[in-house]
Amino acid sequence: MTTGMIGRKAGMMRLYDGSGQVRGVTVIELGPNFVTQLRTPDRDGYTAVQVGFAGPRKRTNKPEHGHLRNAGLEKQVLTRLQEFRTDDLTGLTLGQTVTCEGFEPGMFVAVTATSKGKGFAGGVKRHHFRGGPKTHGQSDRHRAPGSVGSGTTPGRTYRGQRMAGHMGSVTRTVLNQLVVANDPARNLLFIEGSVPGPRGGMVTVEVGRRKPLKGYVAPVVPGTAVATADAESEASA
């Protein structure tokens, strides 16, 4: 498998895992991804795998199309390509389909995405300033940033002074998130906790550094193939 995959955030829900514990999870439609290029030390000076995913754009341009044709994937519309560094390219072939099978329940992953944009935000929202007093004759001071420096000495505002400004829409990574469950057949990955960005936003998931949990029992998600007949009939009932 690859060390990372590209997907789309579907939203949040909750699941009872095998021990009856409730876990708040983010559902990610992870893949299918396709191996679009293999980076080798001989040619590129490093080892990595490039995968593609059908991203937000509806069509590929001509150079992209040619790039995909090299991998035999010209029938696919893969508008989001990304490389993941890896030491080992064995088992990976050009054009291969990658599913979230490799992200097993109990593993930890790092999730990277663009956070939701907050626009031009004031100091209270952006830096958790306390704002001014609500009462005692205050007017127009409730969410003001307060002083930005001293007086004649130094006579200027220091660089890096936290102020109002643009907030959000930056790339953020959340480390060590538990894989609660996965469903390769439907390309779904269930990750404990929240993930940056809006529903429908592009998300990359990489193998985390933490060791997998021992003895973790994944929840039974309705409709997942391994749960077989009884979960399926229950879902339709």
Partner: protein, 117 residues
Amino acid sequence: MSIDLATLTQPRNPALAALPEFAVGDTVRVQARVVEGDRERLQPFEGVVIRMKEGPAGNFTVRRIASGVGVERTWPMNSPRLDSLAVTRRGHVRRSRLYYLRGLTGRAARVKEARRG
């Protein structure tokens, strides 16, 4: 956004009996699964349902007076720790949240019995 998350909601464990109809104001006896060390046993909890929440993440709260102290426990409707539930008394109440019971004790903290079946 293609997948509907509601279709992924876990149903109540099919191995457990379905919960009977019950409503706010009813007195219910809940058999809760309690894990002690490596064994599991059932712990009964009987009291008045003071609050219910609908939907896939629905839950309910049962209140009782235990040893003179008010105790409230909340379970998700689909919780695997919720073994069974029996209605021991139907209550007649005119509101959906019986938080006023928290301020009352003894005879004042009773719920009128429903005349319906």
